[in-house]
Point group: C3
Chain length 447, copies 3
């Protein structure tokens, strides 16, 4: 990557304004405000919208902006020409903008080629996209790899359009430039990596991409305040082509990735959904399943499928990375998906906060899920000697006392703390606390 | 086999009459007519009934008739003397045939030794077999390996018999001769074999043996019209001693058998039943389970048991072949089993046809269940380049588009198409079509 | 062990009185009488109570008494000083014994240090233990490793105690001596061992320790009347320190242990409970599960947990022995647990007898659960030749006939008789009988 991607220097974050710590946001209001700030930008898979998005994220975390030139071959794909839009509209003969990019950037077929023309409604219609099933919403449509132009509008608006002499303008540029993505490496005590990925290519939609960007940014802040065991790599990439580009440029580095997940559609009020990695039973899959099963909230664990977001690339058979997908209502399963209704009313502060809490809980497992070996494996050690036995003989043991016994008994180098928590049906917190106590007493050693 | 079994030349099938193609029989009427034609013959484990049965089958497929001499040692067994019957009856003192082999060949205890005698009812009774629980039906009984004679009759008829001077006649021959079976090899592109077996030793019963013979014959016609990947071997054998004989004569060939099933009791109106092979999770077991689970019809998947038909021999521990058993209502679970009520009213054209359809669907899986390897395993290939991407960005993918992604993602040489269809929960047909398209596009290769 | 533990000669059991055979006790009355006889003794982890208990058991089986000196280091533990009590009471100023060890040995905190003092109620109270939730029962409490004294009494009695000048006496000795346990080896045809363990350290409680001692004694008698395949080792040990001591002294012998279980709380009227060994799917686990699942009675199969009785030591990760735990209502799950209510009313003759029956049924499986290999693995042998085929051809096979087929088919050296019984869903008795018949016919051989 270092040879090809142009690196932008880190923003100087130590100015007078204090950085909001999104990870400390108890109500979710700061996360929501983050979404509000990002909402108006017209993003696509390349262009200034992505750059502005990354700049806003850099107010929170020291993200590196990476620029990859158009035309570069990345596996079976080519980095596309860069697309930027100044203006786009359809005017009627009275000179009124009946469809106006400036009112909603969803009105423009994403990656439309430039056009300036006058035409009848019949000539215009093949370029108009609507969703008759949701007649009041603007659908989101793209044409990245087929050179065409078009406008998206509510179906009811289309029905109301009359024959007229329409003026069509797409004032856009499409030519050599760069694909832009953001990358942040939070160094850990080991070089083994956890990869967190979200996409940043969707224009004004909130659940589908802004929610994931917000939670990923907050998680990065959380980790920057820790000294984590793993090195964490955050990718803020255009969907598909962005992750493909990153994988192509970092092929040699991919072996370091031990866990990871894609964050997407994590701000709606629906229950949490975790989609397993291709391998299906990796540690990250088990950690997420455990966190969701332990909480009292409804949730769903889905098997892997090769349709979705950038897990499609990370979990392609040549890479087969242990990377799952974290969602609330799965993409395509909420009516607002890929439409103007995926707006600031659809995402909720408490949902963003709830997702972040569960993300942090999962990271806590991954960070602490060690394999220990008992130093005294023959019979139980006499816990009283180590100050670890409480109470009078004859009374039932409490959870912490049980957790000590479980960790001692299972610590044969074959069972991780998560294995033990699952088998013991004790909480992760209790098992972790017992492991700390036993480790401090010299009774178990990390193996 | 070639040294011992006398081969009969193939019947010349190219005469003026056109052969009915049972596999093209949409209504099942032709399959049913096949059963009707076979019904009157008195079959046993040896003798002319078996030969006539094979001759009738040879009107449809170029079956080889194999003759194995009495007295040959086959594993722990000996090929028995040949049995043929001309007549058998019990006459009362008025000279009336009160029990008459010519009315139903079930009246004679199969393999009865010859006898001519006069006797009282009390002397006769130890030779009379009835089923008191089904008092109006003639039960089917045999005594292959214990030299005795007897008659089978409805229990109500026995109750009505009065003391009299009875004349008993079994005009049969039991002596050196041959055991006869039919064999057909349909050559495939590989020498790996699929073994299809049915028994041909039951006299006038329809579900228990004629239905299996009909469906096996139709399947053989179906395969003769294809160029299959596997070589198919059809065995039309007397139960137990026939399959034991074939296995003894073909021990060296058995290793080629990769899949197979026994066809029996497949014409009654009950739901389909598949009994797994001894190994329990072979490819044929999975293919049959998939076909039955995918169809909306009720069905049952049974574990292997060593009681049943010729799977007992194929799945004996020394052979342990991947051979299951295909039935509708399992033998012994329908009241008509082994009685005169297993007649032409009990089997149904539509049931025969339904079985054949599912047999052909399973064979389609076995034939096409390849392991592929993606040619471009790193990230997804750009399907649009290969003409395999339809639609505008932003819309949900259809089943075929999903199937392309599944086959690409899972094709790492470890997953067969059936594995993929099961994991994707897409139909076999869609997965197969996707694999064909990807193979033609050069994106996957058989591994 | 031989160097350290002082062995006591076997009691001469051949006197005029005939030994009661507990294993032949159909009603459970003899087992119950055994509990009655043991009930009054004040047991602890050391001392004369344990010796008297072992002496009483020696009326039934030739148990060896082993004495291990105080102060010996056993893994992380030390054999404690020996404790014996002559008397203990609390007298009021009127000279009345308001709490009296002689009325119930539970009144004394087990392992109390000697004391003689006068004190006020307020001074006394920190030494009084009650269970407010079960206010009429004396709780059972111990203080083996913390030097203190105390009395246990019903909570209602405590509430009724008034300010007074109390005289406290614990007339006990605590000093160098021995830890005592009983061991019996019943030699088998092989040196592979089955370990049966019960604890003998609880004072007057019936379900929690006397029931286990009774059933273990009866099982030992049962095995002394057999010539078992396995060598059986019975341990009657003080809980925790006793099994730790035995393991420390017998570390080299532990590898011989192939199966085993701990017997505890097996006399109450609740359903049977089996707690699996740490490994979770050993042969003893499967045998117990099979026995409990085959019987029509309610029962529970529990996963291993490292909290419980001496399985904690046997299943510590360094040993990880295939030893489960046999209970009726699990310890701690019956209200009477560790209190004076675990008395002669709580255990029942029929429950003791039912436990013993299931223990013997499980031992029968372990003893006979051989792996056989068919001598004629190619096709079925012709059972008629060996006198193993009954009935006329055409009739359904009975259970014994099916069992013959199952044992023949599965006997490839990979399936034990228990595997076969489970897969065949036939009773253990039928499968065992079939294996005997086939073995006698020379058709299968132990592999």
């Amino acid at each position: 990557m270092d040879d090809i991607a142009r690196h932008v220097d880190l923003a100087n974050l130590t100015d007078e304004e204090e950085v909001v710590d999104l990870s400390a946001d108890e109500s979710g209001q700061a996360l929501y405000q983050f979404v509000v700030d990002m909402y108006p930008i017209c993003r696509s898979i390349t262009g200034d919208g992505v750059r502005r998005t990354i700049d806003l994220i850099r107010n929170y975390i020291p993200l590196t902006t990476c620029e990859v030139p158009s035309g570069l071959q990345v596996f079976d794909w080519t980095v596309p020409p860069e697309w930027n839009v100044r203006d786009a509209y359809i005017k009627n003969s009275a000179g009124e903008r009946v469809v106006d990019f400036k009112r909603s950037n969803l009105h423009l077929l994403n990656y439309s080629v430039p056009v300036r023309a006058r035409m009848t409604l019949d000539e215009l219609k093949p370029h108009l996209y609507t969703d008759p099933e949701k007649p009041d919403w603007i659908p989101y449509r793209t044409s990245y790899y087929k050179a065409t132009w078009g406008f998206c509008l509510p179906h009811n608006q289309l029905l109301a359009m009359r024959e007229d002499d329409y003026e069509v303008c797409v004032d856009a540029s499409l030519g050599p430039g760069h694909l832009t993505y953001g990358e942040l490496r939070v160094p850990g005590r080991t070089s083994e990596e956890v990869l967190i990925s979200c996409h940043i290519c969707h224009p004004s939609m909130c659940n589908d991409n802004l929610s994931g960007i917000a939670v990923a940014t907050a998680l990065a802040q959380h980790l920057c305040n820790m000294e984590p065991r793993y090195t964490y790599r955050f990718l803020f990439v255009p969907g598909t082509i962005g992750s493909i580009t990153w994988l192509a440029l970092n092929e040699a580095r991919v072996g370091r990735v031990k866990h990871g997940f894609v964050l997407t559609c994590v701000g709606d009020p629906g229950p949490m959904t975790y989609k397993r990695s291709r391998r299906g039973n990796t540690e990250i899959d088990r950690a997420w399943s455990y966190v969701l099963e332990q909480c009292a909230d409804p949730h769903e664990i889905q098997d892997f499928s090769p349709y979705g977001y950038d897990e499609r690339q990370y979990c392609s058979p040549g890479f087969d990375l242990p990377i799952g997908t974290v969602m609330r209502t799965p993409f395509g399963k909420f009516a607002e998906y890929h439409s103007s209704a995926d707006n600031l009313d659809f995402v909720r502060p408490d949902a963003l906060r709830d997702t972040l809490s569960k993300v942090i809980a999962t990271i806590d497992i991954i960070e602490n899920n060690m394999y220990y070996r008992s130093v005294k494996p023959f019979c139980e050690p006499r816990l009283g000697i180590y100050g670890l036995y409480s109470g009078l003989g004859g009374l039932a043991a409490g959870d912490f006392q049980l957790a000590l016994l479980w960790v001692l008994n299972m610590s044969d180098g074959e069972n991780s703390l998560l294995d033990i928590a699952e088998r013991a049906r004790l909480s992760w917190g209790t098992i972790k606390k017992a492991a700390v106590a036993l480790s401090e007493a010299g009774l178990i050693r990390s193996s």
